[in-house]
């Protein structure tokens, strides 16, 4: 082993990087930018007030409890507020379904009978169920009201404070839904976008640097035909990919033990309320945008490594800002403005709406998601076409 040769190899690498400003930027600047972005997103999220919808089936004593809770939350630092009283549990569920509230609390008719009988009463707490983290935060905030609730129960019955038993329910999915149930639909979009972008970018870069693009341009093929052909070709694989991912996410196949092999399960059996076809179409539309984006950005790369360098600039921010981990509404204003032009934001919103809330094309927000995704895909088809230069039309 020769230290001279080892140093020669190391020196060669350093010399190479010295003339590759973009890679140097990737090493030093991009991690800083991404980390700063992450810090900004996490630390500067908007404080949200958990909005509570009360349902009173416990008569006048129940109303006194609601009044006390309402008073207790006015200006309280816990970030929870009673915003309305619904006439029934169904009405409260409808309010949550429409986004008018984060949490519903149902005081049952037997509330005081149970306390008087020495039993712990049951109180039903309903959350939307579309985001376990948000639901958990809402339930956490509700814990701050439990002391008030228990005190009111004691005052109303002249007994000792009793902590009620919380029966947890959700409007969408089930109360047992976990993070995977929520994240799986959006990962369907994210992974599809990521892989299609990388594959298209590298493939089209090869066309550019390998001379085949110039050869294509010496034939009667038009730029639009090239871009649309790419879209169809990669769209085919993107479609297959989305089908496979969708099936894996939604299905569950139990494979029995075979000889020495133990029984195992294939698929995640994620809870879904809506149409898998609509979810599939959303993911395909997003992927088609990724094809055009890959073609467009391949203009700015000379090597496959440089295509990979777009990942922290194009893919990671969409993961952070697109509503996958944090609701877009809670982002700082500037980042929310950025999120509003990212295709991932609309794909995630649409997929969550369809797969978690069971929304369909009758939902204006879902229609908007489709229109924006199609618009972004069309925009990048035009931009991609513009990067394919030839002196003829």
């Amino acid at each position: 082993m020769s230290i001279v040769r080892i140093l020669a190899v190391a020196r060669r690498i350093i010399q190479g990087f010295r003339r590759d400003e973009r890679t140097l930027g990737l090493i030093f600047v991009v991690p800083l930018v991404v980390t700063a972005l992450l810090g900004w997103v996490i630390r500067d999220q908007k404080d949200v007030t958990v909005e509570v919808v009360m349902v009173n089936s416990a008569g006048p004593p129940g109303q006194r409890i609601i009044d006390a809770l309402t008073q207790a939350t006015i200006g309280a630092p816990e970030g929870i507020e009673v915003i309305s009283i619904a006439g029934s549990e169904e009405a409260a569920r409808a309010a949550l379904r429409d986004g008018n509230g984060d949490l519903a609390v149902v005081l049952p008719g037997a509330l005081f009978d149970d306390v008087l009988a020495g039993r712990r009463p049951h109180v039903t707490v309903i959350t939307p169920g579309t985001d376990p983290a948000t639901d958990g935060a809402a339930l956490g905030a509700f814990q701050a009201l439990m002391a008030t609730l228990a005190g009111q129960l004691a005052a109303a019955t002249g007994g000792v404070a009793v902590i009620p038993i919380i029966d947890r329910e959700t409007v969408f999915l089930s109360a047992s839904a976990d993070a995977l149930d929520v994240l799986a639909p959006v990962f369907l979009a994210y992974f599809g976008y990521f892989f299609v972008f990388i594959l298209t970018g590298i493939s089209f870069l090869r066309e550019r640097v390998g001379g085949t693009l110039e050869r294509l341009l010496a034939t009667p093929v038009s730029r639009a035909e090239i871009v649309l052909g790419y879209g169809l070709g990669f769209g085919f694989f993107a479609t297959l990919q989305v089908i496979v991912l969708t099936l894996y996410i939604l299905a569950k196949v139990d494979v029995p033990a075979l000889g020495p092999l133990p029984a195992f399960t294939i698929g995640l059996a994620v809870q879904s309320s809506g149409s898998p076809i609509l979810a599939f179409l959303l993911a395909v539309l997003l992927s088609l945008g990724a094809v055009s984006l890959g073609i467009f950005l391949s203009t700015f790369a000379r090597t496959e490594l440089q295509i990979m360098q777009f990942i922290p600039l194009v893919i990671v921010p969409q993961g952070l800002l697109g509503g996958i981990f944090w609701p877009v509404d809670r982002l700082p204003d500037i980042l929310r403005a950025v999120a509003n032009v990212l295709p991932m934001t609309y794909a995630v919103d649409g997929l969550k709406a369809v797969m978690l809330r069971g929304a369909d094309l009758g939902d204006a927000a879902v229609r908007l998601d489709f229109v924006v995704l199609a618009g972004i895909a069309a925009l990048f088809v035009v931009l991609a076409g513009a990067t394919i230069k030839r002196e003829v039309a």
Binding site: G211, R215, L216, A218, T219, R390, A393
Partner: protein, 250 residues
């Protein structure tokens, strides 16, 4: 072929890259049914000239016409066969798939056309082989097959025979001759002189300018030499060792 219209016509073609004039005012008219050799060293402007004529690069000044139509015009492209300097084939596609792909882009769906150029380039028995598994010479042949498959009336070939073995090269030239006899105009760019005698006419270029044009015999005679390399040096104003000739005052 329309009799009086030149197959290729360049008027005052100039292409600059920054301060470099890659093509420096070339006027050239090529008639139909002939083979022209565009000869000059690497960096003399041959490729840039061909790319401008094919409509793939925008001239800084001047115009080009193919078959009487001003370049660029997309409708012309079906009547041009352009073979770039690099192989420019799809490595993951088979030989046959590559040729069939370019045939379809040119509007040819006839399998016979594919078979014909595969036979010509002696790739018939490698039709199922992915291009990535071909030797450099074979890829060059494949590239030529992709260029010829739609039988265009104008062929612009940039170093078509590099890496091709002598026997096959002779076949290529015999085919080029048959095509020319049938009316095809062929412009072959090359930096080697040993194929020049196969061309009907030669155009020597250096530093983006035409040094001389004529038949091989005319050029040799005008230079007072028997070999084309010496003739090139003579017309470039260089001595036999490539040094500038000293000006002789009269």
């Amino acid at each position: 072929m329309t009799g009086s219209v030149p197959a290729v016509e360049a008027v005052g073609l100039v292409k600059t890259f920054g301060s470099v004039r890659a093509v420096d005012g070339i006027d050239l008219t090529l008639g139909a049914g002939r083979i022209y050799g565009l000869l000059g060293p690497n960096g003399s402007g041959k490729t840039t000239f061909i790319r401008m004529v094919a409509g793939l690069a925008h001239p800084t000044a001047g115009t080009a016409r193919i078959l009487g139509t001003l370049v660029p015009d997309r409708s012309l492209l079906a009547r041009i066969g352009y073979m770039p300097q690099v192989e420019a084939v799809y490595p993951e596609l088979s030989v046959e798939e590559n040729v069939a792909f370019f045939a379809r882009l040119e509007g040819r769906r006839d399998p016979a056309a594919v078979n014909r150029v595969l036979d010509l380039t002696d790739l018939g028995d490698r039709r199922g082989t992915p291009a990535m598994h071909l030797s450099g010479g074979m890829r060059r042949r494949l590239s030529l097959a992709c260029t010829l498959v739609h039988e265009p009336p104008v062929l612009l070939l940039d170093e078509p025979t590099v890496g091709v073995d002598p026997a096959l090269r002779a076949q290529f030239w015999a085919h080029f001759r048959r095509l020319a006899d049938a009316g095809t105009t062929i412009l072959v760019a090359s930096h080697v002189m040993d194929e020049a005698d196969r061309c009907d006419e030669l155009v020597f270029v250096r530093s983006g300018r035409i040094l001389v044009r004529g038949t091989s015999a005319e050029i040799r005679t005008s230079a007072g030499t028997t070999d084309l390399e010496s003739a090139f040096l003579h017309h470039a104003g260089l001595d036999s060792e490539g040094r500038p000739l000293t000006a002789v005052s009269s």
